[in-house]
């Protein structure tokens, strides 16, 4: 395999032990692998939001679109529709995309647009120093909820499955080999794919031990079966203690939005002046 240098000169400012390193190393490894298998890396675009996760755009020497908070998905959709030859990979935080920008995630899944979303789900706001997020467990004591939250977390995979996502997986930042496998699968999947990574924030919500005790890898699971997928997704609700399944929950190939949307797109350039004149003539 050709060794490609995907590093930039940006200084890494993630905390030592941050789960983001696993995500970054896994994606670099996947990109190197895809490149050796023939994917031109200039055809890859990374999109990130705002938060600790988003610094990944600065750290990988590849096309990137460092967006604003909550708005990874629509930018990624625009890039993909503008040039369907591109592989568009969105990185977002749980606050970023399960919170502020969740409507975009819902619609992207509904459209089954061929983009990949990798969620750095540490279940806490890191960059704004420790508030609860949409996936924090019930009773989470953060700086904005000193007495504990009064609301149930979202189960993002359940939401995504019901919205029409066609690839859903979960990994943890303690399992880089699995991350590599599911990232690659997600990127190669034709349709909307999302990987929920239980990425640990060592400073504000260190869950390494908690996850290590509860995670297990899906086995004998038919990921084409919606009911089985839902069943496994609902096993853990991101709040109460339960076994936490990792791996691919759901994978199904159906027509993508851009296939349908772009079906009628003509490649040849149009003589717009003639067409404008014709249109005006019809109005005379």
């Amino acid at each position: 395999m050709n060794q490609i240098n995907l590093d930039t000169r940006a200084q890494n400012t993630w905390c030592p032990g941050c789960g983001n390193f696993a995500i970054m190393n896994a994606i670099k490894s996947v990109l190197t692998e895809l490149s050796s298998e023939g994917l031109p890396l200039e055809n890859v675009v990374l999109v990130s939001g705002i938060g600790c996760h988003a610094k990944i755009a600065d750290y990988i020497n590849i096309n990137s679109f460092y967006s604003i908070h909550g708005r990874v998905v629509p930018a990624a959709e625009g890039i993909k529709l503008a040039n369907p030859a591109l592989k568009v990979i969105g990185f977002a935080g749980d606050g970023d995309t399960y919170g502020e920008g969740i409507e975009h995630l819902i619609f992207a899944a509904k459209r089954n647009i061929d983009i990949t979303m990798i969620i750095h789900n540490n279940r806490v706001y890191g960059l704004t120093t420790g508030q609860y997020t949409p996936t924090s467990p019930l009773g989470f004591k953060g700086r904005s909820t000193p007495h504990g939250t009064q609301e149930q977390p979202l189960n993002p995979l359940e939401v995504m499955l019901s919205c029409g996502a066609t690839y859903l997986a979960r990994g943890t930042s303690h399992g880089i080999e699995m991350l590599k496998r599911i990232f690659k699968e997600a990127i190669l999947h034709k349709g909307f794919s999302l990987v929920d990574v239980l990425q640990v924030c060592v400073t504000y919500y260190n869950m390494y031990q908690y996850y290590d005790k509860r995670v297990y890898e899906l086995k004998d699971h038919n990921h084409q079966d919606y009911a089985q997928a839902l069943n496994k997704i609902m096993e853990w609700d991101y709040s109460k203690d339960a076994p936490i399944a990792l791996g691919t929950f759901y994978k199904k190939e159906t027509a993508t939005f851009e296939d349908k949307f772009l079906a009628g797109r003509k490649q040849e350039s149009v003589d717009k002046d003639t067409k404008i004149r014709e249109l005006l003539k019809l109005r005379t």
């Binding site: 930039t8 000169r9 940006a10 031109p40 200039e42 055809n43 675009v45 999109v47 705002i50 610094k55 755009a57 600065d58 020497n61 590849i62 096309n63 990137s64 679109f65 460092y66 967006s67 604003i68 708005r71 629509p74 930018a75 990624a76 959709e77 625009g78 890039i79 993909k80 529709l81 503008a82 040039n83 030859a85 591109l86 409507e103 975009h104 819902i106 619609f107 949307f261 772009l262 009628g264 797109r265 003509k266 040849e268 350039s269 149009v270 717009k272 002046d273 067409k275 404008i276 004149r277 249109l279 005006l280 003539k281 019809l282 109005r283 005379t284």
Partner: protein, 555 residues
């Protein structure tokens, strides 16, 4: 007869818009110049809606309060608008719906329901029937009407013709409108003119969430998408609209979005992102009265300062406000060119009257304009998305291009697009982005950014912008005044504006706002306005109303 105004009204859902278009085309077809004002409430069915179709020998861009003919499809129309009539009894009505109390011989009544029943025609064809009656009343030949109906009704053409003929036969001539020996010109709405201008400027993609008064651009371009090879998308929200657009822009596709004030509020965070990341995008901002939801289907000019300052931080934007269909076409193309040439957001300030008003469009009056190509990277690595240059414009590359790593960033960044908090670099980058302004100003010196018309040597002038151009120009012509209309609002064309003001001793600003937004803007550049004529009830100035107010102001 030099001009005629016709009012047609009924309930929303009756088909008044379509009818006004048919009447407009009928009169345009015999050489008249047309303006159509549409007045409708924010609802789907019921409620009173009307259009005023004004036809004149000369180019016009506004309506009159007074009309020469009222076409009433219901009682309400006659009751509300009878007072507008220049002469009594000049109305055509559905005699099954409208009761004439005073003089039973007054006007022309047709039993539309009965006629339709006899012809086995649907209720919507009451319109065609009464337009047939109108043609007879105005002395327009039936074959001219048939010609228009064939174009307007490609489906059920024969039935429409038959119903129109019945209306024609059961009517009587009460006036005579003479065909003019002038070529007929196409009728377009301001929204359509903007859409066509964007296409002229190289539009590849249009993205919008429906919002009055800009939705018709979305509908028009969606319908024209196949013909012009456009991507037209209606996503989940205005936030998605602008972010998708920035994604398209990053990928090298010329893109525009359209909205009104409320939707623009949602776009402002990404507008600022466009400023920081230097991603070109054109935004059509169709104004309507606020605050908040306000009067959704009426008009206002209250977003000038919002457009000038929307978004956090300080960044450059190009803002134009066209005043008629030709300007809408031309300046939309200019906005597209400037956005891509300088990698800045552009805003086309429209309003409900500008966008939904329908008028003739004379393409021969549009100055030469062609799509310009942006500054592209010459394939010599290393590529730097934010390379420092003399005019602040860095060469563009698109993802997929070999040897170019294209990093755009909402954070302050270095030349390669990587985040920085370095004080020196922060200062240099801010200066890089802002110094484009003086190059845009220089480029704009070649264009007619401040229009003047009327009696140009008059010492009294009307200052206006956007859709108020129409009534202001006509009033000025009548009263012997000068009109000064800045089309470019940012960067403000200070020199041209100063020149336009030379010899002017009294300046009266006409605006659809309650605070006077243009006077506040020109004051920043040291120019004073002597009087303001403000209207903020959502309705446009009619000619008669404006004339009276201007007369009062110049005394």
């Amino acid at each position: 007869m030099n001009e005629i105004s016709i009012l047609i009204g009924g309930k929303a859902g009756f088909g008044i818009d379509k009818s006004s278009m048919v009447i407009g085309r009928l009169l345009a077809g015999i050489g008249y110049r047309i303006y159509i004002y549409r007045d409708y409430p924010s609802l789907i069915r019921g409620g009173h809606t009307f259009s005023i179709i004004r036809a004149s020998k000369d180019r016009i861009y506004t309506h009159r309060d007074k009309v020469d003919l009222v076409i009433a499809l219901n009682q309400e129309t006659l009751d509300l608008h009878k007072k507008r009539l220049n002469k009594d009894c000049l109305f055509i009505f559905d005699s099954e719906q409208v009761k004439i109390a005073s003089n039973p011989a007054c006007g022309i009544g047709l039993p539309l329901g009965k006629i339709l029943k006899e012809e086995n025609a649907p209720e919507i064809m009451r319109n065609t029937c009464i337009i047939g009656a109108m043609a007879k009343a105005l002395g327009i030949n039936l074959d001219i009407l048939e010609n228009v109906l064939r174009k307007e009704f490609p489906r059920e053409t024969e039935l429409n013709l038959k119903v129109a003929q019945r209306g024609f036969n059961e009517s009587r001539q009460i006036s005579k409108i003479t065909p003019l020996a002038k070529p007929s010109l196409p009728l377009v709405s301001g929204n359509e003119a903007m859409g066509l201008g964007l296409i002229k400027g190289g539009l590849n993609t249009y993205i919008a969430y429906p919002m009055t008064p800009s939705s018709p651009i979305l509908h028009f371009l969606a319908g024209a998408a196949d013909n012009f090879s456009l991507d037209v998308i209606h996503p989940e929200s205005e936030i998605s609209v602008i972010l998708m657009a920035l994604g398209y822009s990053y990928a090298g596709k010329k893109v525009a979005v359209g909205t009104s004030g409320g939707g623009f509020c949602l776009m402002t965070e990404a507008l600022s992102f466009a400023g920081m990341s230097e991603l070109p995008v054109v935004i059509v901002l169709g104004q309507r009265p606020g605050p908040s939801t306000g009067l959704p289907t009426y008009s206002g000019q209250t977003e000038l300062h919002f457009a000038l300052s929307a978004g956090q931080g300080e960044f450059l934007r190009f803002i134009v406000a066209p005043g008629d269909a030709e300007e809408a076409y031309y300046w939309s193309a200019v906005a597209m060119n400037i956005s891509w040439k300088y990698q800045v957001p552009s805003i086309i300030l429209s309003d409900k009257n500008m966008g939904e008003g329908i008028s003739n469009f004379d393409i021969t009056l549009v100055p030469d304009i062609k799509e310009e190509s942006p500054l592209l990277w010459g394939n010599r690595p290393p590529y730097k998305r934010y390379l420092f240059t003399e005019n602040g414009v860095s060469p563009l590359a698109s993802p997929g291009q070999k040897d170019a790593i294209i990093k755009v960033n909402s954070y302050e960044h270095d030349e390669s697009g990587i985040t920085t908090e370095d004080p020196e670099l922060t200062k240099l980058m801010q200066e890089k982005r802002l110094r484009k302004e003086k190059f845009i100003i220089k480029e704009m010196e070649k264009l007619e950014t401040v229009k003047t018309s009327g009696k140009k040597n008059s010492s009294k002038a009307i200052l206006c912008w956007g859709s108020n151009k129409g009534p202001c120009v006509e009033v000025a012509q009548k009263l012997g005044l000068k009109v000064i209309q800045p089309v470019l609002l940012n960067p403000f064309p200070v020199n041209k504006f100063k020149k336009a003001l030379s010899g002017v001793k009294k300046l009266i600003c006409v605006e659809n706002s309650s605070t006077g937004q243009l006077p506040r803007l020109v004051k920043n550049y040291g120019f004073g306005v002597d009087k303001t004529i403000l209207k903020y009830d959502g309705r446009p100035f009619s000619l008669e109303e404006l004339e009276a107010k201007v007369k009062g102001a110049i005394k």
